[in-house]
């Protein structure tokens, strides 16, 4: 759903805090698909991802009245989505780590470079913390500062993990081709 509302997230939060349900609706549709994608990435289960979506926005609603957005919405929502998703996976079965989730993701879209399996395998070979920062940066579109805030780690650590992830992908024969010519 296209978001034609020119208001910033802060404006929408303030309007919702003043009692405007339409402002919340705009916020919901603005971040719904990102939240469900993130939840899917953590859970690899459609039902769990949809539950996490609902729980995340219920969590946001519990902040009213009196909620003030002091960071970006993605920074605010990311830890909530992650925690609810981890809880959902634990309920479903013993938590096995994000690398295993990559193996479970059905082919939603076939990559054009490396094959799906090669890319998933290369990602799975990364350290969990490095992979998480890589995906937050290049799939979620979060800035380094937003990643630092969302994960509660120093900016230098974010840069270090991202650098390590990219270096590994550059060296991995399955993904080396992406970097040739760069």
């Amino acid at each position: 759903m296209a978001d034609s509302d020119p208001r910033t997230d802060e404006d929408l939060i303030a309007a919702a805090d003043r009692g405007d349900p339409a402002a919340f609706e705009t916020l919901y549709f603005r971040y719904r698909d990102w939240v469900v994608s993130l939840a899917w990435r953590f859970t690899a289960n459609r039902d769990d991802a949809l539950d996490v979506l609902q729980e995340t926005f219920a969590y946001l609603l519990r902040k009213f009245p009196g909620f003030r957005l002091t960071a970006s919405m993605k920074t605010f929502l990311y830890p909530a989505v992650k925690n609810y998703a981890i809880a959902a996976r634990r309920k479903r079965r013993r938590f096995a780590g994000e690398a295993e989730v990559l193996d479970e993701l059905p082919a939603a879209g076939e990559p054009s470079g490396a094959s799906r399996e090669e890319l998933a395998t290369a990602l799975g070979a990364l350290d969990d913390a490095h992979r998480e920062v890589l995906l937050m940066r290049f799939v979620d579109g979060m800035s380094l500062a937003e990643i630092s805030s969302a994960l509660g780690i120093p900016l230098g650590t974010v840069k270090s993990r991202l650098h390590n992830a990219l270096s590994k992908l550059r060296a991995d024969p399955r993904t080396r081709a992406y970097f040739e010519g760069t």
């Binding site: 609706e25 994608s37 979506l53 990559p111 890589l134 840069k159 990219l166």
Partner: protein, 146 residues
Amino acid sequence: MRDAQNHEAEDSQLLAPKGLTDDLARLLRPGFTVPAEVDRVVLALGRRRIRASERTRRVVRWLAGAAVAAVLLVALWVGTSRARLPQDIDGSGRVDILDAFTLARVLDERRAVERKWDVTGDGKVDRADVDAVAMSAVRLDKGRVQ
């Protein structure tokens, strides 16, 4: 200049090729859309919660206003009560025999008197006013703020 160049050099190490980022997005995209029923549930919860929180804010604002008004009323009452009671020599909020004793001591010690202690209204503060305060104190409704 060197810092800016180092910053740019560092940032270039943190860039990823577009082909990689596009393929990552494709790999990790969920193969389903959010059902309309889920949207309805979340939005209905949102409407209930936002309206309830607005009602809560209205109640809190009303209570805060009522509390301020109550404080102002009490302050006004205390202030005007004291002003209406020239016999309350010691400012205790009650008119009793102690007020007569206090005024008598003030006169005996020739201390400064306040004009409002001229209870008899004869233009001076003297023993007649002490007697008038004592008479007020022994009335049946003595001690109560009038």
